[in-house]
Symmetry: C2
Subunit: 309 residues, 2 copies
């Protein structure tokens, strides 16, 4: 089962010839989640060979144009392609008015659009048998949500040789898969860990854009495999970052360090930096496992069993 | 003085990996006119090395998304770039509500936006000392305007040897430049054509998208140097063209022939045709000097003197 992030756009407000405005695509198993939808997102999907019809969930962080101006085009395209199944759209309250406006001038769409507005205290905004998504507020000039994707625990795999050794029946196996120990007829407790393969790691991805540096976010994204944190500015433009309520590369790295994440991705680079390697290097001084993203990058997290358990 | 058309987007409703939605840029002298603004127009401008700040006039044919979804992003970018000078926006009435909506959610812009709505009987919607623009209705599912750009007559160039031969003074030269004959002291009339170089050809470009085939348009665009006519469909999908109120390549060519234009450009190709050469060939059977456009194409009309006059 894949857990794979594709960068569709990595620029900040001003796109460049190589960087489209912000959009990420997370493939979790067979589900595609589009996160933000800057201008040209549908074109990037075409260029990267991804059929937009496969997307059933679009999460918008906030209603600044560089995160949402591709939405109208994508919705229209899905309509023209004859989509019938509902599309789930998550984001701040103002999204409803955006869609009202779309419907008035460019609608109607031939499919239902379910709009889900996270509340600041909401739990999961999405939950399936395999994945959960949390939304939580970031600190920017208008309401913004960060999103955390995390796999659910997978059922344990029972060791075949133990099934035979203890003569486990179907009902026993189901219980062991859920994590229970096994008690033999003679009353001996066989610990679950002895009966099963090590559990799979629950893969996770957190998306934080746009936001001021906020150390309290570290708790929200603690220990994620992959953290995207916007890094619009270099630390030498720290004042500008504060004025516009954005983060610097150093601040993004500081959050990654506080949160103890595995890998940090930075992007949403201001077009003032001709060479975003500068921003990557700035972040690496604080958090070594940092990559500055480019359009078209794919970051895949392998499905691995936890070792040592 | 240049008169040069750049194709920024050549697809119909669905963009492809190589074709962005519709947008054309006409450079007439030092002025840039953007005609339609499909999603990604600002990205194409960057990719083709054109500074969007140089655009002062944007003409929108109609309010279907594939002709206008790039407008919000372009306006935002101009704002972020610190534009102060007004921008002139031409198009159907509904454009005002589109801009109202933009201002409410994404504004305010730091520059004035002048919205000019052509009336069906309006004369020039733009006029400078060098160029005029006409707007006229096309036939589509919603109000659409076609646009005709035509250079004004340039002052005549007086032949230097004739200035000396007839001893022309400044006032005489001014009159001759305007086209008047010269009368010598002895009463001899020297015809203007003998005193001046042949006049410059008045270059012209007409843009017709989207529209049903309408033979009455031939009069509007009679004899233009360059005619863009949408060709969404092949003649084999003629019924679909009629249903959706679009044209076929054969119909575009028929209009070019009726109008006696110099060169026909076709585009706005439906993504159903993997090889738009099919459409070009279909048109060429009726009007030989036809080209199917691609994103990035540049069509330049040289400044030439009329011969034989």
């Amino acid at each position: 089962m894949s857990f794979e992030l594709t960068i569709l756009g990595s620029s900040a407000a001003l796109p460049t010839s190589k960087r489209f405005p912000t959009a990420h695509l997370l493939k979790a198993g067979e589900r595609f989640f589009l996160i933000d939808c800057g201008e040209g997102t549908q074109i990037r999907l075409r260029q990267y060979g991804i059929n937009p019809s496969r997307i059933h969930h679009i999460l918008i962080s906030h209603l600044h144009g560089d995160h949402v101006f591709g939405l109208f085009g994508l919705l229209s395209t899905l309509g023209v392609m004859g989509r019938k199944v509902p599309l789930h759209l998550y984001g701040p309250d103002a999204l409803k008015e955006l869609i009202d406006y779309y419907n008035r001038f460019f609608g109607p769409l031939p499919f239902d659009l379910d709009i889900i507005t996270p509340s600041e205290s909401s739990g999961f905004i999405f939950e399936s048998d395999k994945l959960t998504i949390n939304a939580f507020p970031l600190k920017h000039r208008i309401p913004v949500f960060g999103y955390l994707f995390r796999e659910k625990k997978k059922p344990l795999n029972v060791r075949k040789e133990q099934i035979e050794a203890y003569g486990l029946g179907i009902a026993d196996i189901m219980r062991v898969k859920r994590g229970e120990d096994f008690v033999t007829d003679s009353g001996t407790v066989i610990p679950n860990s002895q009966l099963t393969l090590p559990p799979f790691h629950q893969r996770s991805y957190a998306y934080l854009s746009d936001t001021l540096f906020d150390p309290e976010l570290a708790e929200r994204v603690k220990g994620v495999d992959l953290l995207f944190h916007e890094a619009t500015f270099s630390n030498r433009d720290k004042k500008l970052a504060a004025q516009t309520q954005h983060s610097t590369a150093a601040e993004a790295a500081t959050l990654a360090k506080l949160a103890g994440v595995n890998k940090l991705l930075i992007g949403h680079f201001s077009s003032r930096y001709k060479e975003p390697l500068l921003l990557e290097n700035e972040a690496k001084e604080i958090f070594e496992n940092t990559t500055g993203v480019n359009d078209g990058d794919i970051y895949s997290i392998p499905l691995e069993r936890l070792s040592g358990e």
